[in-house]
Symmetry: C2
Subunit: 414 residues, 2 copies
């Protein structure tokens, strides 16, 4: 048998479905599993957009232009204008999901061995995309005690080495739910300018900012025309994860030209998804408002419940639909496995994502988990009932006095 | 401005849309352009499948499994059985087009610097996929005089070096239309076994074999369970290029595991395209029969016309919907540009793909072009009228006695 490539054996496993077989086994034993482990919302894809799609099917489903259909790119400029982002249609390219947008950005911006600064915890698949491109992620620690606020800009500056070529942030943040304010973004922008770094922002959760927080895109920062790159997706906004329609937006024409070489190789982004994306962008105000309100209720629900659990540290996330929590445990992966293999409460259990998968620094996140608010409030309450009971019963629970660690901050959990 | 990566500047341009701006300019001058340059058929996507799709839209367009929906994979096993290919559903993975299937195969099978033997001319984007993966393509010359038959197996064996890890063929062939018979495939399979090489076959034109030729998949070759990999796509079969639904099929479980790591990083193939693909696979016999008959008429039309053009060498392609032709010219790219910039016949011209884009050996293909039979016979006749007239008028036409070159064979053109 011919040997496989070494790189394929070193490519990081995506952690999101690592425990999936245990969940399947639990279900086959008749246990109901509440999936808080992946960002697959239960929210309906806009029904009127699905209805419109049926009337927009062209008789030949042809390749679109490599950069996406002109009509969709035009509509997207109108969408960005809602957030004060003035873009021409040719400054954005339609991608096969945010995943492809980021992968091609890494290819186009970085040589093998170049370094990328990324606040951690971060979206776990960044590790895999960086591995494929041979880019080294240098993590900058954030802490649960202050709701995973961005490190001070001085910390970024100190981390810059001779191979550092970019900064990657996710705002609002997956996996933490943190939202970065204008001030910290401006400071980061100035740093990117000063050191001539790409500032790449994954902004797929733009809609989901709570408590009146105003979202600020890196594309609105002054003087960053050559540096700012936005990674976007319709997946979360319209609960259309399967559409695989992402967007890359940058005013850097040379970068778009380089990205175009890669984009033309794969011919075109998905055609049906592009038609649906256009339909979803029309008359979406009521839908988005309702979805935002629903996620707001959910984060309040989870925060209220976590706050009452002894030994649990968490916070009220300002955006997205995730939060991290620190539990009185030693090994989150063991705990998550135990939940699926050895635990049930009234015939139910909960599936969570172990924290370490979101960190690049070895040892970090071992007592943390990520939760996605992808179930309605009633089911979230049931999931929290399970979790509360599980933390009481978990044989390897640590005593409360051993729990406190990390830097002090605006600790929200009790 | 931050520098772009060196690799992005070295990534080969996809040649297919290189002259697109000249075609746009011609159109804006009122010239009708017959596009024989890209494999985007005018054939209707199966209308009944598009109608079914409208009734199969689920209320949440969720991520599919990374390897594709189980129902689609099941249906695909039934499809392969039509060709005597016995596969279990878990031996195939749904990909975002054949492009992704091949790119991930290169990542999973080859280390950087490994060599891949590819008969040339070959589908031009193989160059780009190999560049991204750091794989070196070693071309094996085929010749227009015998309709681009595969080189003898001895030529493959002689080309094997210490870094050679695989062979990549396209059967039926894009860009030549050649179909490889059972005997030559068996010899190639035995060679792959002997030297423990991956044998990767791009079989997206499987349906399009003419003159009673029987298609043979590498997955039916004995003893190749670990070596054979098939790249497939619904794009051409059902004229659904924009669906971006490909398939990777292999019985090598370790390879599927390695591919799965990459597949999980990009989460899932397009969801709407997967639903459409299922609908297209149902009751498709009459559709496929009609489409095959239509392409057969088209290739006969093009062959008949090329045969009558003085100084032109071509052949009757046995499969797919392409052919190569050698013209009495010195520089195919100059000729293709001239067609768009300086020529018209009754307000019309034709767009072709210059030959060199399909060769890795410098200097080969300079007097050749590829034509795709993606227009109906009436429009193909008009395109051939243009081409015939253009070859008469082209200022840099070579004299007929300078045309003959290459090895002698079953020359079909005059």
């Amino acid at each position: 048998m011919p040997a496989l490539s070494q790189r394929s054996q070193q490519t990081p496993f995506s952690p999101f479905r690592k425990l999936a077989h245990l969940a399947d086994a639990a279900k086959s034993r008749g246990v109901e599993v509440f999936h808080l482990n992946i960002g697959q919302p239960d929210i309906l894809t806009p029904p009127q957009a699905l209805r419109k799609l049926a009337h927009r099917l062209e008789p030949v489903l042809a390749y679109s232009p490599a950069e996406g259909n002109a009509s969709l790119r035009d509509k997207m400029t109108g969408y960005y204008a809602r957030y004060g982002i003035e873009l021409a249609a040719d400054e954005l390219m339609i991608m096969t999901g945010a995943s492809e947008a980021l992968q091609l950005t890494l290819f186009a911006c970085f040589n093998e061995g170049d370094e990328l600064l990324v606040p951690e915890p971060f979206y776990a698949n960044y590790n895999g995309f960086a591995h494929i491109a041979g880019v080294r992620i240098r993590p900058l620690p954030c802490y649960i005690e202050d709701g995973f606020a961005l490190p001070p800009v001085e910390a970024f500056e100190q981390a810059i080495g001779p191979r550092t070529r970019g900064i990657l942030i996710c705002n609002p943040n997956n996996p933490t739910g943190a939202v970065y304010g204008a001030e910290v973004l401006e400071a980061l922008g100035a740093l990117a300018c000063k050191h001539d770094l790409f500032l790449i922002a994954d902004e797929v959760y733009r809609e989901f900012c709570y408590d009146g927080a105003v979202f600020r895109s890196v594309l609105t920062l002054p003087g960053l025309e050559s540096h700012a790159v936005v990674i976007d997706s319709v997946s979360k906004r319209y609960s259309a994860c399967g559409a695989r329609i992402g967007v890359l937006a940058t005013r850097n024409a040379a970068l778009r030209e380089a990205l175009g070489r890669y984009a033309r190789l794969r011919l075109s982004p998905p055609g049906l998804g592009q038609w649906l994306a256009e339909a979803m962008l029309e008359d979406d105000a009521a839908y988005l408002e309702e979805v935002q309100a629903e996620y707001d209720r959910r984060r309040q629900t989870v925060f209220r419940r976590l706050s009452r659990m002894p030994g649990v540290t968490s916070y009220l996330p300002g955006g997205a639909f995730y939060c991290f929590a620190r539990f009185p445990i030693r090994d989150a992966e063991h705990f998550c496995r135990w939940l699926l293999e050895d635990f049930q409460y009234e015939g139910k259990t909960v599936m969570l994502s172990p924290g370490p998968g979101f960190y690049a620094t070895p040892g970090r996140g071992r007592d943390e988990v990520r939760m996605a608010f992808v179930l309605d409030c009633d089911r979230l309450e049931q999931a929290m009932d399970c979790l509360e009971r599980a933390l009481e019963l978990y044989p390897q629970r640590r005593s409360p006095d051993a729990v406190v660690m990390g830097v002090p901050g605006k600790k929200a959990g009790g």
